[in-house]
């Protein structure tokens, strides 16, 4: 590396926003390389000493991991402690212990060198594995090796626990062990190459209110220690070596964000009601039970979408009824008076399902997913429904089925609910007798027969992300056509209008749980379309509440009447922006840069 003198160029990386906020700071690049261990020989009478040191290091590591499990459970929830089960099993692995002791004795080497050699051999076995997925699962073994070596070689904390100044933590990925000794007050932001919004770094960042961007692909190799970084956890951008101009720009964005955040949080305890008294239900989407605290602190009224996939896919085996019951109940018990809408398993599509065998399909988005899957795997469906109905005894639980496209699916699922309820009653379980049953509206077919579906259920919740891609026949990941993916298309507005009309005609309520209410355009139009409930990520709740409280229902309805006559998404967008500029200028701060 001799480019140290080269002029540092500003580079912008685009990743997945994982925790909102703007941060500035120097890079602290987490050392992801393995430690180097010198080959050191010992005399015959030192052999026993080395073996004793090895045992001590194992015990010490075991204690560290136990402590880590406890702190993980306290900080981000019981689920995350389980991740380290396999680490403890590696520590107590007989093969590993016996081979290391044998190597110390036979080769007269230090415990550190012996264990390093043994694990090198183990890792070589893994490298020979043909299956790509299995081959790559060696991070846990390396992690355990680093921990034991650290204890053996007498080095005090290394890696992240060395962080003694406020910095942006830059890593390929972050494991719970990596972040264990970390003093969070020194972390300005977390950014990682790997991971999605449910990766460990993302969850930790959100729980601590630290900005974070993940999924940055190959950002790490461009960043050197002490490089200047700007992290935008709202849009998912990371700027390396920003120019003075960029810094200035982001300082303004940061100041505005802080101002807004402060102002928005003052709205926490106010209802989501328009200037002329029309109120909507404003609730939050969650992926894990740990996020309930976020829901409450952002002033959402209950949970409009509790996704259950994450709980399933983070386990090596299917969760039992008892496990699921405790998990769902832990959420319900914390907010017993507020609605909690639990969506039954929605696997397939973009989600993984390693525990049900090979699900690879030529076209997963048009494949075996959502209610299609659960109706075919009644064993899994029944267990989940039993757990949900049992949890419903503790509060206001509603059940929602994803990916409905035909009437029969709803009838079969309802039939199964009745059977499950009867069974539970016979077995003397307490259940919430009046748990509402609803469906997601995310296929054009469901919209077309919304009037028929509305007779069968208690509510609808529109999943805009999927509805857009099915209605416009566009894969948002395909760069050539992603311009078509626009929530403001006249076709989408019409589908929403038809859904609301059918629901209200049959006296059921209709909500939305996609990303649409997160933009000012989306929120205003959804309000005017007459949706009864908005559910969005917790951090968006204050923004949506502010938008709803800034306008009248009448003017939102007028806005919708006008935009429904328009032919293109662009006209719709411009009309909404004209409305904001002319009638409600205080909403300008929610417009994207270009339009404000």
């Amino acid at each position: 590396m001799n480019d140290a003198k080269a002029e540092k160029k500003e580079i912008t990386f685009y990743g997945i926003p994982a925790s909102p906020g703007i941060a500035f700071g120097e890079a602290f690049v987490v050392n992801v390389e393995d430690m180097s261990v010198p080959e050191e020989h010992v005399s015959v009478d030192q052999v026993d000493d080395e073996i004793r040191k090895f045992h001590e290091a194992l015990e010490q590591t075991e204690r560290e991991i136990k402590k880590l499990v406890r702190s993980l459970e306290e900080e981000i929830g019981e689920e995350h402690g389980k991740i380290l089960d396999s680490h403890r099993m590696i520590l107590s692995d007989e093969l590993f212990r016996n081979e290391t002791i044998k190597t110390i004795k036979e080769n007269k080497v230090t415990a550190a060198f012996a264990l390093n050699t043994v694990l090198d051999k183990v890792l070589a076995t893994f490298a020979a594995i043909k299956d790509e997925y299995l081959k790559e699962r060696t991070e846990d073994i390396r992690d355990v090796r680093r921990r034991v070596l650290r204890n053996l070689m007498g080095q005090q904390a290394e890696g992240l626990s060395n962080l003694r100044r406020k910095a942006v933590v830059v890593a390929r990925s972050l494991t719970p062990s990596d972040t264990a000794g970390l003093n969070k007050k020194y972390v300005a932001a977390f950014i990682t190459d790997a991971g999605g919004s449910t990766s460990h770094a993302a969850i930790l960042a959100r729980s601590q209110g630290i900005p974070s961007v993940v999924g940055l692909n190959d950002m790490v190799k461009h960043v050197k220690p002490y490089d200047q970084l700007i992290v935008d956890g709202i849009t998912g951008q990371v700027v390396l070596n920003p120019t003075a101009e960029t810094v200035h720009l982001y300082r303004e964005v940061q100041a505005r964000y802080r101002e807004l955040e402060k102002e928005l949080l003052t709205l926490r305890d106010f209802p989501a009601v328009t200037l002329d008294g029309h109120s909507i239900e404003l609730s939050a989407n969650i992926e894990t039970a740990d996020e309930v605290a976020d829901v409450m602190s952002h002033g959402a009224h209950g949970i409009g979408l509790f996704r259950t996939e994450y709980f399933f896919i983070t386990r090596s085996a299917l969760p039992s009824e008892e496990e699921q019951y405790r998990y769902y109940a832990s959420v319900v018990k914390r907010i017993p008076a507020d609605p909690v809408i639990i969506r039954t398993l929605d696997v397939g599509g973009d989600k993984i399902a390693r525990w049900v065998g090979d699900l690879r399909e030529a076209n997963p988005f048009m494949g075996w997913r959502g209610i299609r899957f659960t109706l075919a795997r009644k064993d899994i469906f029944r267990t989940q429904l039993r757990a949900i109905f049992r949890a419903s005894a503790h509060g206001n639980v509603k059940i929602m089925f994803p990916m409905v496209s035909v009437l029969d699916e709803v009838r079969s699922a309802k039939q199964l609910c009745e059977e499950v309820k009867d069974d539970l009653k016979r077995e003397r379980y307490q259940i919430g007798e009046n748990a509402e049953i609803g469906i997601m509206i995310e296929t054009p077919s469901a919209v077309a027969i919304a009037d028929l579906l509305a007779r069968e259920v208690d509510f609808f919740s529109v999943g805009t992300n999927d509805l857009i891609q099915y209605a416009l026949a566009v894969d948002r990941g395909n760069a050539k056509i992603s311009y078509l993916y626009d929530v403001l298309h006249p076709s989408i507005l019409r589908l929403l209008r038809d859904t609301v009309t059918a629901a209200h005609k049959h006296k059921i309520w209709v909500g939305i749980c996609g990303e649409m209410p997160g933009s000012v355009h989306g929120a205003l139009l959804l309000l005017g379309l007459g949706l009864d409930e908005f559910s969005a990520a917790s951090y968006l709740i204050p923004t949506i509440k502010k938008i709803v409280r800034s306008v009248t229902y009448d003017e939102a309805r007028a806005l919708v009447r006008k935009t429904l006559t328009m032919g293109t998404a662009r006209e719709v967008r411009e009309h909404v922006e004209r409305f904001i500029h002319e009638k409600r200028p205080e909403l300008r701060e929610f417009l994207p840069e270009a339009a404000s």
Binding site: D85, S86, M89, I90, D93, E94, L95, F96, V122, T125, F126, A128, I129, K130, D131, Y133, L134, K135, R137, D140, I141, R315, S316, A317, L318, P319, S320, E321, E323, I352, A353, R354, W355, V356, G357, D358, L359
Partner: protein, 90 residues
Amino acid sequence: MVVGSVRVKNKNGIHLRLAGELVKGATRFRSHITVTKDGQEVDAKSILGVAGLGAECGAELVIKTDGEDEAEALAYLVDLVDNQFALEST
């Protein structure tokens, strides 16, 4: 000694966590237990050994148990793999 075979059905094969489940299952028994895949034989009570097999979805595992509880051990482990490790949780 008794011997049985079973195919891996889990989509991503036997990765570290599933290897851990298999080891947990094997350590319930007193018998000496090994798992063989493509001629590579490892101790079923070693997580590093089992994970190191790289048993992908569809791979055939030969399980050998030897000891006082060998029959139960074999039946239990074959079931465990055959049921995609779901036994642990129900």
